[in-house]
């Protein structure tokens, strides 16, 4: 009897194995190479009264109500003026934000370029009626009507700000000071086991960016449009880097703790993390390395299932108002979207430091965007799409 049961289990498993082995060769479907706006979600026509609250998904440091630092607060005024209570959920990665938005429980999101198109294609966000947002007029022209926030001339969001991913190190542990991403890709790094990197497939672009500068024969132009050979080179570089990585970070508090304790001494960061560490008197410094950097250009988008659309429109208008936009840009360490914000910053040279209107500078920053099959140039549809990036990332981490 007992053996009969065993045999049954084995038979089931064998059957499963056969089925798996004989899996048909039906070719994987071609994923849409060009984004098409789905029919359905429509923009708000007229602005009504606030609904009393608004639920946001945001990057750490984008929605501050004074609870992190009493002096950092651009939410309380908004709540008082509009009566919309702001509830925020921090998203650590673009992927997390997309997943959260799909839950349909949020009114809006501060999406980076590697999330926006996915949200638009998935029908998760609605077009934005910019007439209802007076401050939109003052947004830099270079940020309006961009491929990551507009489809077929229809705007799907309000530009929030932009900036670059930086290289940070502990000044007491890392000498001499690095000026290149080479510091985190050096297989013989003296800081082996103390190097950190952003735990997300999009980080593959950082390796591609370094290869673009150091191995010109690979012919990398856009670091998000990688064909087979280029992609493999980036993945190989990251597999070498895996040997010197102590731990990856995606939760910004994890990186903050790791730099404080000295478990990480060198790696990628956001300006806001550097600010938080400096506030805690941890000796760190962050720079934009000579190869340039990957970066973000963020967009506030409204959910197609928003339960508080009026409050969301008020929020979108508020966050790009000169004062709030200046405050968030200074706190997070990025260039504001509103040209008038430059007059409102506490540090008068903030917009110069972060190159707010310097389109030439931002041409060196590779904004996060969703990799697609279509390379976007004459190579055709031979590039690696995001699902392949995700799989490669699992392989890199091993």
């Amino acid at each position: 009897m007992r053996y009969a049961r065993w045999a049954a289990v084995l038979a089931v498993m064998a059957a499963l194995a056969v089925v798996v082995g004989c899996g048909g060769d039906d070719s994987s479907s071609d994923s849409g190479s060009k984004v098409k706006a789905p029919e359905g979600p429509e923009a708000l026509k007229t602005l009504g009264d606030g609904e009393g609250e608004v639920n946001l998904i945001a990057w750490a440091g984008y929605v501050e109500d004074g609870s992190t630092d009493p002096n950092v607060d651009w939410v309380s005024d908004f709540e008082k003026e509009t009566g919309c209570k702001v509830n925020t959920k921090i998203g650590n990665t673009s992927d997390e934000m997309v997943t959260l938005m799909r839950s349909g429980q949020y009114d809006g999101v501060s999406a980076s370029g590697d999330a926006t198109l996915r949200l638009i294609a998935g029908g998760d966000v609605a077009p934005v009626n910019t007439d209802l947002i007076p401050n939109y007029a003052d947004v830099y022209e270079g940020l309006k009507d961009q491929p990551w926030n507009t489809v077929d001339g229809t705007p799907y969001g309000i530009p929030h700000g932009r900036g670059a991913n930086l290289l940070m190190w502990r000044t007491d542990k890392v000498q001499p000071a690095p000026d290149s991403w080479g510091a985190v890709f050096d297989a013989n790094s003296p800081y082996k086991g103390k190097v950190t990197a952003y735990d997300n497939p999009i980080y593959i672009a950082d390796a591609a960016l370094y290869l673009k500068a150091t191995q010109p024969d690979l012919g990398i132009d856009n670091v998000y449009e990688l064909d087979d050979k280029q992609f493999q080179a980036a993945v190989d570089l990251l597999k070498t880097q895996r040997e010197i990585i102590g731990e990856y970070w995606s939760d910004y508090t994890k990186e903050q703790a790791a730099f404080t304790s000295g478990d990480s001494v060198l790696g990628t960061t956001w300006q806001v993390i550097t600010n938080l560490l400096e506030a805690d008197k941890v000796p760190v410094k962050a720079i934009l390395p000579k190869e340039g950097a990957t970066g973000w250009s963020d967009t506030w988008m409204i959910s197609s299932k928003a339960k508080h659309p009026n409050c969301m429109y008020m929020w979108m208008n508020h966050i790009i108002s000169p004062k709030a936009n200046a405050a968030v840009a200074e706190w997070f360490g990025e260039a504001p979207a509103n040209a008038k914000a430059c007059d409102e910053t506490a540090a008068k040279d903030h917009c110069e430091i972060f190159h707010a209107d310097d389109e030439d500078y931002f041409s060196k920053v590779a904004y996060w965007t969703t990799p697609t099959k279509d390379c976007g140039d004459d190579r055709g549809a031979v590039c690696k799409d995001y699902s392949e990036w995700v799989q490669a990332w699992t392989e890199i981490k091993g």
């Binding site: 289990v9 798996v20 479907s29 992927d95 478990d263 995700v390 699992t394 392989e395």
Partner: protein, 292 residues
């Protein structure tokens, strides 16, 4: 009221006359929960493993194919992740057996009742505090400027840092009570007279342990190992906090939370289910279920 009483008595009598109906009514709730909520979700998981994801829009397409399983089989990385997870789960289990057996033996056979009660409380106590607090505490202990390195530094040694070793240590700590309690219960069931008899017949301590205690306590050890092994196998939070190591659970988590690839996650999640089925079948042969 009288009529209500009559009706109640009528129902009771009807049930009394049909013991089978009585039994099935009693069990309908628990069995329904088991079948619908518990096995049902497993079935949904298994079905989802055959769907696929439209990679750009991120929507799940309900077409049946074996692409997910093929991806899992053809990719080295998934094999090595399964291998690593099973290996660490096995290492944790062995470590916990080695740590738990002496403690359980002391509790069951040596300690006086008052000490025994104290020890039981001490073993169960960590279960009262939050899992996350315990893991983060270990993160602080193992950190670069943590207490472990402070302690080892004078000897010129250095802690393991955050990695596979850290996950092994933390898991061994976390699941130790789940090993001690079954072994303790198993040892308590062995009559002292058997040990006396063994020594009367000239058996030394080691021989008695090997030939008398261990065979009798073995089912209990296997029962404990089911807990330590399966709990390690399914965990994904500890590896994330004290290392950048990927367990099966981490891959499932990233595929759900990061890539939104529910079908691949479901396919990978069937792997630990299969491993545990095999483990439980083996455990049953070793008689573990009688000592749970």
């Amino acid at each position: 009221m009288g009529a209500g009483l009559d009706r109640d008595q009528g129902v009771a009598a009807a049930l009394w006359r049909r013991p089978r109906l009585q039994l099935s009514l009693l069990l309908a709730g628990p069995i329904g929960w088991l079948v619908i909520a518990y096995l049902g979700s497993l079935a949904v998981l298994f079905v989802a493993a055959f769907w696929r994801l439209d990679t750009f829009s991120g929507q799940v397409v309900h077409e049946y194919s074996l692409d997910n399983f093929r991806t899992l089989i053809e990719n080295d990385v998934y094999r090595s992740i399964v291998f690593r997870t099973v290996l660490i789960a096995a290492a944790v289990t062995v470590t916990d057996v080695l740590l738990a057996f002496p403690i359980a033996f002391y509790m069951a056979k040596v300690a006086r009742p008052r000490i025994r009660a104290l020890l039981v409380v001490a073993v169960v106590m960590p279960l009262w505090s939050s899992y996350l607090v315990k893991v983060y505490t270990w993160r602080i202990i193992l950190a670069e400027d943590g207490i472990l390195n402070w302690f080892l530094d004078p000897f010129g040694l250095h802690g393991p840092g955050f990695g596979n070793v850290a996950t092994w240590i933390v898991f061994s700590y976390l699941w130790l009570p789940y090993m001690i309690l079954p072994i303790y219960a198993g040892l308590e069931r062995i009559p002292d007279s058997l040990m006396d008899a063994s020594s009367d017949l000239g058996g030394g301590a080691w021989l008695t342990f090997r030939r008398v205690v261990l065979p009798l306590a073995w089912p209990a050890v296997v029962a404990g190992s089911i807990f330590t092994f399966s709990l390690t196998l399914g965990d994904y939070i500890t590896p994330q906090i004290v290392s950048s190591t990927q367990f099966i659970g981490n891959v499932v988590y990233t595929n759900v939370g990061v890539a939104n690839n529910l079908p691949l996650a479901a396919a990978f999640a069937t792997v630990p289910v299969v491993i545990m089925i095999l483990y439980l079948l083996a455990a049953r042969r070793l008689g573990a279920f009688e000592s749970l």
